[in-house]
């Protein structure tokens, strides 16, 4: 088995396991609109609709980019998109609670280098450009996500 096939297989098993074991994400939609109003970043990202559009574009690009495709082709893409919407909603101050697997567990079985992580960030930047998210909002979001590199990068 080549390393890529092995990684994909392990990834597929890990994703399947985490999907089966994880509690379904409960996006707690708060009827109070003021919850969103007090989160300017969540607003700048287009709130739920904007994040959904972003993730659709993001996943398509991840599958098309040869650097990231090996990680995402074998994965449950719909589930990942839904998880990401909730997670980005939460870190940007929106009215969501992420109840998926923690980042460390989700990535522990994969070989992810800093180059892989940066490739994903680059693809995310492309998606944010494509969906019209302003540059300052992009950087504010990246600032919230960047510390996750400690849990996501497994190959030092």
């Amino acid at each position: 088995m080549t390393k890529t096939t092995l990684t994909s297989t392990v990834l597929a098993i890990a994703m399947a396991t985490s999907t089966w074991m994880a509690l379904p994400a409960q996006a707690q939609t708060n009827p109070m609109a003021s919850a969103a109003a007090s989160a300017p970043l969540y607003q700048a990202l287009g709130e739920k609709a904007g994040l959904t559009a972003l993730m659709d574009d993001f996943m398509a690009r991840l599958l098309a980019d040869p650097r990231t495709a090996p990680f995402f082709k074998p994965a449950n893409q719909q589930h990942i998109k839904e998880m990401l919407v909730v997670q980005f909603c939460m870190v940007s101050g929106g009215p969501c609670t992420y109840k998926g697997v923690d980042m460390k567990t989700a990535h522990a079985s994969m070989d992810i280098t800093k180059g892989d992580f940066n490739a994903l960030v680059e693809v995310l930047q492309q998606s944010m450009d494509a969906t019209g998210i302003p540059f300052t909002a992009q950087n504010a979001l990246l600032a919230k996500l960047a510390p996750m590199h400690r849990d996501v990068i497994t190959v030092k």
Binding site: K114, N118, D129, F135, N139, A146, P147, K156
Partner: protein, 311 residues
């Protein structure tokens, strides 16, 4: 000699393009800095703690640059290349060619035998090692990326050697520095502070140290850069680089007043990176007084233009 060095550098840069396929992943745009005049990655004037090129861990990358600065009385052309290894080590080599034509006026002070149109050449070998932190990804802490480095400089003054002998300066020297760099990602602002231990005069173009009443020993001088990311492709910023000013007292001791005074270097810059492989930097530079005794006490201001290729 100069042409073959330039040819060698271009050939090296061209052959390194084959590494582009492997090393084209890795860094976010403009986060490797541009090339300083001394060759290290950073702003135009000051080295940052970032490791040059696009390579991240497990990868090797390279950059090549060419720069030109022109002020009222002087001009400088510089070119060089750098290799970044695993986002931890950077090795750079740069050649500076400084047009010191005004120096012919020194023959009026003493029979120095300075030739017309004299150029001063300086080679800089740089080493930089990242020792802690991540300038970009540690966005939830105050921790900067920290690097230590050295720049070994060797100056060829041509017919100005007699002047350097009079000043008591040496023609080789080594600067040591520590840099701390942080990108405040949420604010799109990059800040760098460098502390340099040096006895270089005008960065080494006028030799190192000083004899007689001047300062021969190295001193600690601070350097600061601030940059604002306007967009993914454009950054603007400012730099300030203090100088040890070793020679002013030599001039005073010889009854020449502030003829040999040296001031801080400053600039305002804009950098544009259309993609990960190229960047252009344009700056307004204020290099302060450079041998004001022969340049009417003028402050040297002008432009700085630099192009960089990265792999």
């Amino acid at each position: 000699m100069k042409n073959s060095l330039r040819t060698a550098l271009v050939a090296t840069a061209a052959s390194l393009c084959c590494l582009a396929a492997q090393a084209d992943t890795g860094k976010l745009l403009l986060t490797g800095g541009v090339s300083t005049v001394d060759g290290a990655a950073g702003g135009g004037l000051t080295p940052w703690a970032v490791i040059g090129s696009n390579a991240t861990e497990g990868e090797i990358g390279a950059t090549a640059h060419v720069s030109r600065a022109k002020t009222q009385d002087y001009s400088l052309t510089a070119f060089g290349a750098a290799v970044g290894y695993k986002d931890r080590l950077e090795i750079s080599l740069a050649r500076q060619d400084f047009d010191a034509s005004p120096a012919i006026a020194l023959n009026g002070i003493a029979p120095f035998g300075v030739s017309p149109g004299q150029h001063i050449k300086m080679d800089v070998l740089g080493l930089k090692l990242k020792v802690a932190g991540d300038a970009i990804l540690d966005s939830d802490t105050w921790m900067p990326q920290i690097a230590v480095g050295l720049e070994y400089k060797s100056t060829d003054p041509g017919s100005l050697q007699s002047v350097l002998n009079f000043l008591g300066t040496k023609t080789t020297g080594t600067d040591f520095y520590v840099s701390a760099t942080k990108l405040f990602l949420a604010q799109s602002v990059l800040v760098n502070g460098t502390l340099r231990y040096t006895n270089a005069n005008q960065n080494g173009l006028l030799g190192f140290g000083a004899g007689a009443t001047g300062r021969d020993k190295p001193s600690l001088v601070p350097e600061v850069s601030v940059a604002y990311l306007l967009s993914k492709h454009v950054a603007i910023g400012a730099e300030y680089r203090a100088k040890p000013n070793n020679l002013e007292d030599v001039g005073r001791g010889a009854g020449l007043g502030d003829a040999l005074a040296e001031d801080a270097w400053k600039d305002l810059f804009i950098a544009w990176a259309p993609n990960k492989n190229a960047s252009v930097t344009l700056a307004y530079v204020d290099l302060g007084r450079i041998v004001p005794g022969i340049t009417g006490g003028r402050t040297q201001t002008g432009y700085y233009l630099s192009a960089q290729l990265a792999f």
